[in-house]
């Protein structure tokens, strides 16, 4: 169960990256496609809105004509007139008449008139009735040309024509506005008349739609009156789409909706009840791009996952396959754990990008809008600053302090001088009106022609309104001017005035409107604006003092909209990333604040276009353009407090760049994470595997016999115990190894072979040849020598025996005091006398040579009991026991009885003596502990006689 759960978890983990990557790609694709679709839909909506706007003919002509005329000069106008213009005129969705007036630049100064379009009245100008006036104009114009003053002629001609046209318009049954008038060069003048009135609205729409000239986008309209659709040229190439849309339009569905058909995005606008039509537009969607990397990446991941899955499942359930070391597995596993959340995140990454980019974009757009608003507000602040400065002047004394001139009594001149000095920041539109009580009012204003302040004596009914108002106010404040001197004729004057004032009040009230009227009636310095079609003024009224007595009413009047200086110019900038511009101008006149317009057009063509559009329609216009790496958000809006158009753009990296940057950032983090995770895992794995490895290494060392090897036990974890145990084991093994030499080879063999079985109880009857070698006179030696000396002797004995055993076979069974017992075990009943004799001889000779000790050796052979004997739990011994052993010992004793020691063998071994040895039977029949007779033979070397007994 646990296994299945784990397998399930693992397989989730394994296939998770594939799935999430696939989903992430899919998601990104969807987002991209929907973004494209949205953009297309947006374009369509914008287009539809523009279509639905009753196209201001003036805007249309302005924007198109300007573009068209940009390159027309005095040289190439003929080709323009013959080719481009007729084409253009055909496209204009309303009747226009265009006249090109070309003045011959040669001396004669004759004019040529080129007329295009419908006849709207320019020819009437030349009709009999007006011929006279027209010719008068031309004649006078020619006269001036001849005099050589071309610029004056130009302005004259312009004004004259303008006037003429204006009048012409009035002569018509319906007005024909002049749409456009402009000097193209020194000698070409263009103007365009239009007549929209004769056009039926629907026909207008139909024409406009039909001549819609974007090739990447089609628009159409369904006209209710005509019960038909009009399609733009775009649809000519797609009849299927056309019929599809036509089919859709039969249903009278309300509301706007959009749909997709055969790779086109189609948008239908709501039915327009005023125009009785319904617009629609279609744009082909770009084919959804399928990224090649998608399939590849997913496939690679899939293959990796499948391979891993196969491997893991095989390992898991069947136990097959290669085992990896923990050192690799741990980091891999770590990586696996780390990667799951990382891949979990990838599924969301596209969403993240799109939403954060959208937020970023909107934020930038909002910032831009706020910044433009702030500019607008700052222009208001500047204006309020000016108002505050004006409020400062409360009396002649205040003015005197400022202008350093004493009031002389001549109001007009005094104020004139003051204003000349004051002239705040070139705030040209300001004029000042002083309405003294009981005297004539004066007004100063700036004469633009001479750039000088002029004085005007004002005596109109409006001023009496001020005076009455002042009387009322002063009376209320208890500051009434004492005019008792005038009491005599005061009453009649007053009555006379009252009539005038009645009229003045009426005019005043109607002129300024009731709101301003009542504000004017407030006793504290009222401020109000005065906005009408023909007047756009701002007033500040102040009660004005002289010598602490109310002297006059001071009226600051300034015209809004003519001042340029009140614009916060320091906010304008040309930074390419976020330019801020302001455009100003009137209906057909467009220029830039501070900067030169042609330069701007060159530098920020789109932004200027947007600004111009906003200028024409006096409304917020925004736009977005994409460059290779940036998205530029543009906005232009008319100011609320300034007559200018504020325009600006902010750029931010475009979506691919944003994605690239953010994914690079995120990728770095993820990479860092994965790497650091891997590193951590690696280190952790090392932490775990290094001691394991050390341990393995150690076991291997021990395996090859290096029992002295020890492991480090300074561990903070289980490895301490393991190490301790291991070291204990190694020590034991080391001991065991040492012990091996303390026991006979057959013991070692027995133990190694026995395996798990118990070693004891393995006794058997075996034939063995036993050699006992003892040192002659050991007891005496022992008594007379130190332990070290004794042991040195014993050591020599053992070494000698060992060397002999090695040379001739057999094994040292044990040492009993000074006696070395050597055993040859053999299966057959054939004693190995030869080697035994050689061993004995070797021992005897070596001992003689090395220690000068005489050796007595007894050799016997026979059936013995061989095996392990002793206490099973405590002490064991592997040995041979039996009569032959005892006899051998006795024989050794017998040998020691000989003077020289020597080798004594049992009688029955005589026949087995090797070449060169002879046996001499000793006269001993009985041996201690033996009931039977024993034949003991002393072995001698035959060829060197006497050697044995020597």
């Amino acid at each position: 169960m646990k296994k299945i759960l784990l397998a399930f978890l693992l397989s989730i983990g394994l296939f998770f990256p594939v799935i999430s990557t696939h989903l992430a790609f899919k998601n990104a694709e969807n987002i991209r496609n929907s973004e494209i679709a949205r953009q297309v839909a947006n374009t369509l909506t914008v287009e539809l809105q523009q279509m639905a706007q009753t196209y201001e003919s003036s805007v249309w002509v302005h924007s198109n004509m300007k573009k068209l005329l940009e390159n027309v000069g005095s040289k190439n106008y003929k080709s323009f007139l013959s080719r481009q213009l007729p084409d253009f005129v055909r496209k204009i969705p309303f009747p226009v008449e265009i006249e090109f007036v070309v003045i011959d630049s040669t001396a004669s100064g004759t004019t040529h008139h080129y007329l295009f379009g419908t006849e709207l009245g320019l020819s009437t100008l030349r009709s009999a009735k007006n011929e006279k006036r027209c010719y008068e104009f031309i004649a006078s114009a020619s006269g001036i040309i001849n005099s050589g003053n071309r610029s004056f002629y130009r302005s004259f001609y312009k004004n004259a024509l303008e006037g003429l046209l204006f009048e012409l318009a009035l002569y018509q049954e319906q007005s024909i506005p002049v749409l456009f008038r402009r000097w193209l060069s020194d000698n070409i003048y263009v103007f365009i008349l239009t007549d929209q009135k004769k056009m039926n609205l629907q026909k207008n729409i139909a024409i406009k739609t039909r001549f819609y000239d974007r090739s990447d986008l089609g628009v159409g309209v369904w006209l209710e009156n005509a019960r038909t659709q009009v399609f733009s040229k775009f649809f000519d190439a797609a009849p299927a789409l056309k019929s599809y849309i036509a089919g859709k339009l039969h249903h009278n569905i309300s509301g706007s909706w959009s749909l997709q058909y055969s790779g086109h995005q189609i948008a239908f606008a709501d039915y327009d009840p005023k125009m009785k039509c319904r617009f629609f537009a279609a744009k082909p969607l770009p084919p959804p791009e399928k990224s090649a990397s998608h399939g590849l990446v997913v496939a690679i991941l899939g293959i990796i996952s499948c391979v891993l899955f196969k491997y893991i499942m095989e390992k898991f359930f069947l136990g097959r396959g290669h085992d990896f070391s923990i050192k690799t597995l741990l980091p891999v596993f770590f990586l696996f754990l780390i990667i799951i959340p990382v891949f979990a995140a990838t599924g969301y990454i596209a969403d993240f990008f799109s939403s954060s980019y959208a937020n970023e974009k909107k934020r930038v757009a909002e910032t831009l809008a706020e910044d433009l608003n702030e500019t607008d507000l700052q222009s208001r602040d500047l204006f309020r600053g000016v108002l505050s400065e004006l409020r400062f002047f409360n009396s002649f004394e205040d003015i005197g302090n400022f202008s350093r001139e004493k009031y002389s009594g001549n109001d007009g001149e005094y104020l004139c001088n003051f204003l000349d000095r004051f002239n705040i920041k070139g705030f040209g539109g300001i004029s000042l009106c002083l309405v003294p009580f009981g005297r004539n009012a004066v007004k100063t204003y700036l004469d633009r022609q001479f750039n000088k302040h002029m004085i005007d004596k004002v005596d109109n009914p409006l001023t009496s309104m001020f005076i009455w108002r002042a009387d009322e106010m002063l009376e209320d404040k208890g500051l009434a001017v004492d005019n008792s001197n005038d009491n005599k004729n005061g009453r009649s004057l007053r009555l006379n005035q009252e009539l005038k004032i009645e009229l003045a009040r009426d005019i005043f009230l109607k002129t300024v409107g009731s709101e301003s009227y009542y504000r004017f009636r407030q006793n504290n310095d009222p401020v109000f604006s005065f906005n009408t079609k023909y007047r756009n003024y701002y007033y500040l009224f102040k009660l004005f003092f002289w010598k602490n007595r109310p002297y006059a009413y001071l009226v600051w009047e300034f015209k809004k909209g003519t001042h340029n200086s009140l614009f916060p110019v320091d906010r304008l900038r040309l930074l390419s990333g976020s330019p801020r511009l302001a455009f100003t101008g009137e209906y057909s006149y467009f220029k830039s604040h501070v900067y030169n317009l042609p330069d701007l057009r060159h530098k920020f063509p789109e932004l200027v276009n947007v600004g111009e559009q906003a200028h024409h329609i006096r409304s917020v216009v925004s736009g977005v353009t994409e460059t290779a790496s940036q998205t530029i958000i543009m906005a232009a809006k008319p100011g609320n407090f300034t007559p200018d158009i504020l325009a600006g753009s902010e750029s931010l990296e475009n979506y691919p760049a944003f994605v690239a940057r953010v994914s690079w950032q995120a990728g770095r983090i993820v990479l860092l994470l994965v790497l650091s995770g891997f590193f951590i895992a690696w280190i952790a794995a090392l932490y775990f595997t290094v001691p394991l490895q050390k341990l393995t290494e150690a076991t291997q060392q021990i395996y090859v016999g290096n029992f002295a090897f020890r492991v480090n036990v300074e561990h903070p974890d289980e490895f301490r115990d393991i190490g301790n145990s291991f070291n204990a084991m190694a020590r034991s093994l080391d001991e065991g190894e040492r012990l091996k030499s303390y026991v006979s080879d057959s013991v070692v063999r027995e133990v190694t072979e026995s395996g798990d079985k118990f070693v004891a109880d393995r006794t058997e009857a075996r034939y063995a040849t036993i050699i006992f070698s003892s040192i002659n006179g050991f007891k005496e030696f022992q008594a007379g020598h130190s332990a070290a000396e004794v042991f040195a002797l014993l050591q020599t004995h053992l070494q000698v025996a060992d060397a002999a055993v090695r040379n001739f076979g057999g094994e040292i069974d044990k040492m009993i005091e000074d006696k070395v017992m050597i055993v040859f075990e053999h299966d057959a009943d054939t004693p190995v006398v030869g080697p035994a004799i050689h061993i004995a001889r070797a021992i005897a000779e070596s001992m003689q040579a090395q220690a000068g000790a005489k050796i007595s050796i007894g050799i016997n052979a026979g059936m013995t009991i061989a095996g392990i004997m002793g206490a099973e739990t405590a002490r064991l011994s592997r040995t041979v026991v039996g009569d032959p052993v005892n006899l051998a010992a006795r024989l050794a004793y017998v040998a020691s009885q000989q003077a020289e020691g020597g080798i004594v063998i049992s009688g029955h071994l005589k026949g087995f003596l090797p070449e060169g040895f002879t046996a001499e039977t000793l006269p001993i029949r009985h041996v201690k502990g033996k009931t039977q007779e024993v034949e003991a033979c002393l072995v001698r070397l035959s060829h060197i006689s006497g050697q044995g007994s020597a």
């Binding site: 600053g385 109109n460 709101e515 394991l692 300074e714 974890d717 065991g736 009991i865 095996g867 002793g870």
Partner: protein, 958 residues
């Protein structure tokens, strides 16, 4: 080097923890930063709202108007609105108007029919001049009626002018100043009048007039002071300061509220702020949140009408400053805890690997999970934000669309008007000499326009050679028409005379005296004069102050035979159409969602009419009132505004294309918020699943890879304790597998060692264990015990070896046990003989040896008896004991080593054993040396031979 793993084990989790900690801290601080930014933004919004409140309430008349309009609103929303009771109004009035204003207010409440009103009596109403005021109120009500006749106008205007002064413009006072504070001369002094009526359209039943002294209303500083006090009363942490630029200080001293000094820190910041403001205003950016001395500072100018700036000072709420202090604290705490835990564990036998790895795995894998969590939260926030922004943008887009539609409406309407106007029959009627026919023409046009939702207000007819005329649909419009006509005539006159200057016989327009005055007043700027008419030829536009009238003007020139014979200006009203359009648009968008769209029509500069759909349910709720307040306070604002609440967003759009209209929407964002919460929940679930999964996998990994170490450890300790049957089974071929194999091999080796150990004397075993290769002999004192089986040779001869060896093994086993019981060491087996050694030089050792020998004999007897019972052969043993010096040592020779104990004691012991053959009692022969060394023995010995004794009895003597 040896400690390196410890250090590592100590540091590594700490490092990992630090990493995690910093990741979390970084995320947290990032979120905090964003939150702080968000807070600042909302703070700025809040200050902006307060600022707009200041801007709409900076003068006392605005404040009073607001108070009264609230009272009126409450009255009209109460169920008894048709018939307002005196006491209800009195209650609302005394609650609604602040005390200081009430003191200065004289208020009369009237009720009655539309023909006649009488002042009501109540303690808080003014009781003076009730008759006069009742009449004045009646006059106002009558003048305000749409069907007022001209004679009535004269009568009532004269009366009102008598009461409120000649310049009070009674007709406007009645028609436009209802609900507005209007300056009048009352009792020969400047006063301000507010009047309002309640009731249905046909007959109003009640109303009131309030009069305030002019000096109070016009005292702007007092108004600002009131405002400042009110604001700082409502916002404890904030107070406004009103100051001018420095050079205006003499005329307009600063205004501060009394509460200002109470908030000390803000007050100090304010002093600094004011100083900076005076010194250099350019250094302070208006309308942005700025920090001065632990306070926020925000300022803006108030209005054109006042030179004052409003400076807002807001106390900073000391947040998140202590967080910086907490971080190291947590860190140090964690380090301490970890250290304590680590050392405790270490002292307690070590730190569990498995635990460590689980922790490690988990912590490492949580790193990306945390990042994922962070990323997820960010994503959800971003989506949330994007959704909200999209909704807001949609809202704005709708409002903008409405705005745009209204513009379309103007241009389309004008075109439609023109289409209707181009009608010869109409022209004939209008150009007719008969006034009646002209009037018919007007009516005809009005009827035609009514079809297209346009109400024709007036028509101005200016014909050369005649006086200009006007036709209007109502008296109100006729006044406007007359006013417009005066200007229009002057304008047409100027234009026509210019046009016809070449034609001396042309007829000119005739001007009335008033028109002449206007013409004279403006003739200096005659270009403008003629433009007045000319421009309305091209585009529809407004005449006069835009806010006061909503009549669009559009002009035509009617020509006959190429002469202009008539100049006609139409004044038509699109308001009805516009409002209908707005209502339609609003209800279209409002029906579907929780969103509510309403519009506000600002008429006459101050009064606001609410445009909404019929359902006032939402508007009357708390939320709706909030929304309304927002719209109303925003209406002076000329930009889009947006305020975000928890459940809804208020947006405001000034409909710039529509005259004096603005609109707002309340957009519900509950679904977006819910969506966000749902997403957060999903994220939490995902994360917990992920965490669980990671934990499970980590546990599994540590189980398969780390857990075996514990088993390994157990196996190791078992083996080293001697349990060799224990093997380590591990099925994978990795490091552990190799180790397992190696370990199992070692187990075998160890077993061998254990067995081998048994072949070697214990005395020397120690040497082997200590590993010292001592070659020189040791001299030791002790007792040597030598035991042998009598005539073993004979026995082995006469019995088969199996039997012999079995006997021998049994014997040895028994003897070894006895010897070992008495602390003797088996030195050697020599065939059937046992050589044992009892190390030590005191008598205790000797006694032990003797006891061992006695035990051996006893044991032997028992064995013999037992053997006898099984009919096995018996055997005899003998034991020899001697105390003395022995030489013990290791003898080495290449591959073969041997222990040896030699010495006289051993030899003697062997001899004594041999002598035991002749023993009489116990066959235990003890050497003399031993007897000598034996002190106070409980055993009895008897002399056996030279220098040896025999143990007389196995029993200890008592």
């Amino acid at each position: 080097m040896k400690q390196s793993r410890k250090i590592f084990a100590f540091l590594f989790p700490l490092l990992l923890f630090l990493l995690l900690f910093f990741v979390i801290a970084e995320m947290h601080s990032m979120l905090l930063r964003e939150k702080r930014l968000e807070q600042q933004r909302s703070l700025q919004k809040r200050l902006q709202t307060i600022m707009s409140r200041i801007q709409t309430n900076f003068s006392l008349n605005l404040q009073i108007e607001n108070h009264f309009s609230k009272i009126v609103e409450k009255l009209s929303s109460s169920p008894s609105s048709a018939d307002v009771k005196t006491d209800v109004f009195a209650g609302l009035y005394s609650d609604g108007l602040p005390e200081d204003l009430k003191r200065n207010c004289r208020l009369w409440f009237f009720s009655g029919t539309s023909e006649r009103f009488a002042a009501a009596e109540n303690a808080i109403f003014c009781s003076n001049k009730t008759g006069l005021m009742a009449r004045a109120f009646t006059s106002l009500v009558k003048l305000a009626r749409p069907d007022v006749t001209e004679s009535e106008i004269g009568q009532h205007s004269r009366f009102l002018a008598g009461v409120f002064g000649e310049n009070s413009a009674p007709w406007y006072l009645a028609s436009e100043r209802r609900g507005r504070l209007t300056p009048v001369i009352f009792e020969k002094h400047q006063h301000y009048l507010y009047w309002e009526k309640f009731g249905g359209a046909n007959g109003c039943t009640s109303g009131f007039m309030a009069i305030f002294p002019g000096g109070l209303i016009e005292n702007d500083r007092h108004a600002l002071f009131r405002l400042a006090s009110m604001i700082s009363r409502e916002n404890k942490d904030l107070f406004p300061v009103f100051i001018c630029s420095k050079n205006l200080n003499r005329l307009y001293p600063p205004v501060l509220c009394r509460q200002a000094e109470q908030v000390v820190e803000v007050w100090q910041a304010a002093r600094i702020g004011i100083n900076r403001f005076y010194r250099n205003i350019a250094s302070l950016k208006p309308r942005t949140l700025q920090s001065i001395n632990d306070s926020w500072f925000y300022y803006d100018s108030i209005a054109d009408e006042t030179p004052y700036f409003a400076l807002l000072f807001l106390r900073k709420h000391g947040e998140e400053s202590d967080r910086g202090f907490m971080l190291p604290g947590i860190l140090v705490g964690i380090i301490y805890l970890w250290s304590a835990f680590f050392w405790l564990r270490l002292a307690d036998g070590g730190f569990k690997l498995e635990f460590a790895f689980r922790l490690l795995f988990f912590m490492t894998a949580m790193l990306p999970v945390l990042l994922l969590a962070f990323f997820g939260v960010r994503l959800i926030d971003q989506l949330h934000e994007a959704n909200i922004r999209t909704r807001v943008q949609e809202g704005f887009a709708r409002l903008e669309l409405i705005n745009k539609k209204s513009e379309d409406m103007i241009s389309i309407s004008s075109r439609l008007v023109e289409e209707r106007f181009n009608d010869n029959q109409l022209h004939d009627l209008l150009l007719s000499e008969s006034q009646n026919e002209n009037r018919q023409g007007f009516d005809l046009l009005a009827a035609k326009l009514r079809q297209i939702d346009v109400s024709l207000g007036y028509l101005l007819l200016m014909r050369p050679g005649r006086h200009s005329q006007y036709f209007a649909d109502s008296y109100r419009n006729s006044l406007l028409a007359r006013h417009h006509l005066d200007y229009s005539s002057a304008s047409c006159y100027s234009m026509h005379s210019k046009l016809t200057s070449e034609f001396p016989d042309a007829r000119q327009l005739l001007l009335s005296s008033g028109q002449k005055v206007i013409f004279d007043s403006f003739k200096r700027s005659d270009r403008q004069m003629s433009a007045l008419f000319r421009e309305s030829l091209q585009t529809p536009g407004y005449f006069g102050e835009s806010a006061s009238e909503n009549l669009l003007n559009y002009s035509f020139v009617v020509g006959r035979e190429d002469w202009p014979v008539a100049y006609i200006t139409l004044g038509f009203n699109l308001d009805a159409a516009a409002i209908r359009l707005l209502i339609k648009e609003f209800s279209d968008v409002s029906i579907s969602a929780d969103d509510l769209y309403i519009g506000l029509h600002d008429i006459n500069g101050g009064r606001k009419i609410l445009i909404d759909d019929a359902d006032r349910r939402i508007i009357s709720s708390e939320k709706g009132r909030c929304f309304l307040d927002f719209i109303k306070s925003s209406s002076i604002y000329k930009y889009q505004l947006e305020v975000r609440n928890e459940n809804e967003i208020f947006i405001y759009e000034p409909l710039m294309k529509m005259q004096s209209m603005s609109a707002g929407a309340m957009l519900g964002i509950v679904d977006i918020r819910k969506n966000r919460e749902l997403k957060l929940m999903w994220l939490a679930i995902l994360l917990s699943i992920l965490t669980g999964m990671i934990y499970l996998l980590a546990a599994w990994v540590s189980e398969t890879m780390i857990e075996p170490t514990r088993e390994l450890s157990a196996v190791f300790s078992d083996i080293s304790a001697g349990n060799f049957s224990r093997t380590f089974s591990y099925s994978y071929g990795n490091e552990l597998g190799i180790l397992a194999d190696a370990t199992n091999l070692m187990g075998i080796g160890l077993r061998q060692r254990q067995i081998l150990g048994k072949f070697v004397s214990r005395t020397f075993d120690q040497d082997v264990m200590t590993g010292s290769d001592r070659t020189e002999a040791q001299e030791l004192y002790g007792v040597i015990l030598f035991s042998d089986i009598r005539s073993f040779t004979t026995i082995s001869e006469s019995h088969p070896p199996e039997i012999t060896s079995q006997m021998l093994n049994n014997h040895l086993q028994a003897m070894v046990t006895e010897i070992q019981n008495c602390k003797g060491q088996i030195e050697q087996f020599i065939g059937d003989a046992i050589v044992a050694f009892f190390p030590g030089s005191d008598s205790r050792v000797c006694l032990n040896a003797i006891e061992a020998a006695a035990a051996m004999i006893e044991k032997h007897r028992a064995i013999i008896a037992e053997r006898a019972s099984r009919a096995l052969f018996s055997y005899e043993i003998g034991i020899g004991l001697e105390y003395g010096l022995v030489m013990a040592g290791t003898l080495k020779s290449g591959s073969r080593s041997e222990f040896s104990v030699v010495g006289p004691a051993r030899t003697r012991a062997e001899e004594y054993e041999g002598a035991s053959k002749t023993a009489r009692f116990t066959r235990i022969i003890v050497g003399e040396a031993l007897i000598k060394n034996l002190v106070g023995s409980p055993y009895i010995f008897c002399r056996h031979a030279d220098s040896c004794y025999e143990l007389q009895s196995l029993e200890k003597s008592a």
